[in-house]
Symmetry: C2
Subunit: 444 residues, 2 copies
């Protein structure tokens, strides 16, 4: 958990690439200003990223009274990345270019009862092969999802990644994950315990590196690289779904904690002795602001409401969201009650973490949108002192695509950068052929 | 809030000096192993610390089959540091050597009604002059506290800092502090708002740099440099007094947050709609585990208890602690009730932050000691999942002296190191005379 020189080099490499993705094309001088690093450090890092084939030189801009400045951009026509969102009832896969634009998508349904690790691994592998165009190993090409061409204006749209190298695939699975070991430690939905998912996947997808993590951390990294948290030192990403979490992005990097399980905010206590939670405790944040908790607010406030869609909490919340936008008093009361708890929980994050920005993400937040956020901001303003609150924005996620798949692909990009950095360092130690990156006496 | 190259150099300088203080005398090789930095980086940093006069070369140790390794240690006979703990009823000042051993102490009482900023500043200045031996500017020498010779075995014990240079003084004042501006933003006890305390102190103590901060952050930095958090990547320092807080030490450095107010854990919500808090909300952690909250548990459980010392909460808690150690059932019930809330709050920190260690500090923790900690660990074990909990130790602070004064002096040491680093960097940019630290092309 200590930051070593290599961690710092890796973090700087991430920071520079993140800004290049955001600003492409961009000069080294503008990157130095955006990252706070020296121009010489930026030049070295850009040289490494060019040597790794992640960037291209894309021309020059005039500088005021000096020689023209070279511009670099992400090589969006080069290699690709895969992001896999394994949810409870389906596997969703997206293929990305190196600027993290979506090139292609594929889905596989997980039917009820299909919960054996090998079955789930088969579905994941089939969907990944569908987007990478690799159909050997006996897999069928799954149909790409039509009508989902990615964000407008993205320059690269091959429709497939055929022939383009895949730098890696990130796989997000729900529950507790041992990232280093590639193990699903506990996935309650399928009653998985210590499933070696990465090994099962490597057998099926031997052609590129694979990385395992969980949805909360994927969402957080997606916001850090491509969303509202980019450029902020300290950010919290509150994820609202059936489960609830708060990913911490501190100093520009994901805070993982001692056992890689930081962010379990859904099981912090908001009302000791309150609503029972499936975790065995009472009054957890999740019981009041997760999807089932919000449905329960509706049941408590209006037991016979026509907003209920029995057995379908997503449809119930969608009906609630529509009714709230139409000014329905019951729906607005449910939003207010949810905001009373969510606002208290977010005020707690302001008190404890004092971040620059809190990004509210997840499908529940997407449905309830600004109606919920406006009510939450009012509660937070009543509860948190002026000084920390003045430094904290509370915003909805603006990522237009699936943030979990995006974050999973981002993990694959991060890992590629850090592995490449380690390889370059090893080459330097052997006295390798990259003089521009051969420090005689490394500086602190 | 972004980490720049200079932040990283400063953090590395802190990390190396912290390990030298812990292990003195120590070889550069052992420092590289302890910090995770490269030997070359450690050698550069040790060179800088030697040039700053903070270290001395103290001989050699034999290495296995190589040339003897040079050992360095802190120059404990050199410069000194001052730490000031301004509490509600007294100013406590300690003088430290560079190994952070206490050399001398002085106290000034703040009488009821003595709350004008100028009066408090006069008391602080008088106590500081008492330990630094500087009596000019008309100040009287205050009597050093007898019978408090500092921890046993400390090599330097001049009894005074006379003649030794003072690198700086750190001053901790309660409440909200604007560290950069040197302003006490709000100190409720004295009804201070935006008091420019650092300016008032600089007028009275013009001879050395002064730094303002608050007790929670001072305690946290004391644990990080000299206490149980040293050597841990992620730590939380829970401070229990009349007020309550949780300082976050993440990645080996204090996490300050966007407006320098992170750690206000005492005002996070443990029981929405619970006990009223002076902050205007209800159910804050502080209302259940701060000193007045514990006294209230006693009143709720045993209204006529002989443990009460009317009007004196410290004496009541001391009586409670003695009774608990003697097995008194009422005292034990109060400890259990306190632990029920404190354990839930600490389990929340395990869930959200997932630190390697939680250090419980402050005068309430010192009084109730292992009786409280044992009960807390049981509650946390029931509430937090096995995986994060397995990675987290929960311990009492082991700092034997005043942690606030120690932390305040540590801030002065940190600031000296970072100012010296900035000056060295400026000298390098001017092409100065320190070739060993002149990077032509800084590395990432």
């Amino acid at each position: 958990m200590r930051r070593t020189s290599r961690d710092i080099r890796t973090a700087n490499r991430y920071g520079v690439l993140r800004q290049i993705i955001a600003r492409s094309p961009v000069s080294r001088q503008d990157l130095a200003a955006a990252t706070g690093l020296s121009l010489a450090t930026v030049a070295t890092l850009v040289g490494e990223l060019l040597a790794l084939g992640l960037l291209t030189e894309v021309g020059f801009e005039e500088s005021a009274g000096g020689r023209p400045r070279g511009l670099v951009g992400v090589d969006a026509g080069g290699a690709t990345l895969v992001g896999v969102d394994v949810a409870e009832t389906r596997v969703h896969v997206e293929l990305f270019d190196l600027a993290l634009n979506v090139l292609d998508r594929a889905d596989e349904e997980l039917r009820p009862g299909e919960s054996a690790p090998e079955e789930v691994a088969d579905h994941i592998a089939r969907a990944v092969r569908a987007v990478t165009g690799r159909t050997r190993d006996g897999g069928q090409e799954a149909a790409a999802v039509p009508g989902s061409p990615g964000p407008p204006g993205a320059p690269e749209r091959s429709g497939r990644g055929d022939g383009r190298p895949v730098l890696g695939a990130g796989v997000s699975v729900p529950g507790q994950v041992d990232r280093e070991g590639g193990v699903s430690v506990h996935a309650p939905r399928w009653d998985w315990h210590d499933v070696p998912l990465l090994r099962l996947l490597s057998e099926r997808l031997p052609d590129h590196p694979l990385h395992l993590d969980n949805p909360l951390r994927a969402c957080t990294v997606a916001e850090l690289w491509s969303g509202a948290a980019r450029g902020h030192g300290d950010a919290v990403v509150v994820s609202l779904g059936t489960g609830v979490g708060a990913g911490l992005a501190l100093g520009g990097a994901l805070h993982r904690g001692a056992t890689d399980s930081a962010g379990a905010w859904g099981h912090t206590t908001l009302a000791l002795d309150g609503r029972p939670c499936h975790c065995g405790n009472r009054g957890c944040v999740e019981t009041y602001v997760g999807a089932p908790g919000i449905v329960r607010h509706l049941r408590d406030l209006a037991p016979g409401s026509p907003l209920f869609r029995p057995g379908d909490q997503s449809a119930t919340l969608a009906a609630l969201a529509r009714a709230a936008r139409d000014g329905d008093p019951v729906a607005l009361a449910v939003i207010r009650e949810t905001a009373r708890f969510l606002g208290a929980g977010i005020a707690d994050l302001v008190h404890l973490v004092n971040p620059e920005i809190i990004v509210v993400s997840g499908w529940v937040a997407r449905l309830l949108g600004e109606e919920l956020l406006t009510a939450v901001r009012e509660v937070v303003a009543r509860r948190a002192p002026a000084r920390p609150l003045a430094g904290t924005e509370i915003v909805l996620s603006t990522i237009p695509t699936n943030p979990v798949a995006l974050g999973a692909a981002t993990f694959a990009l991060e890992r590629h950068l850090s592995d490449a950095g380690a390889a370059a360092a090893a080459e330097r130690r052997r006295g390798g052929a990259r003089p521009a990156a051969t420090p005689r006496a490394p500086r602190p």
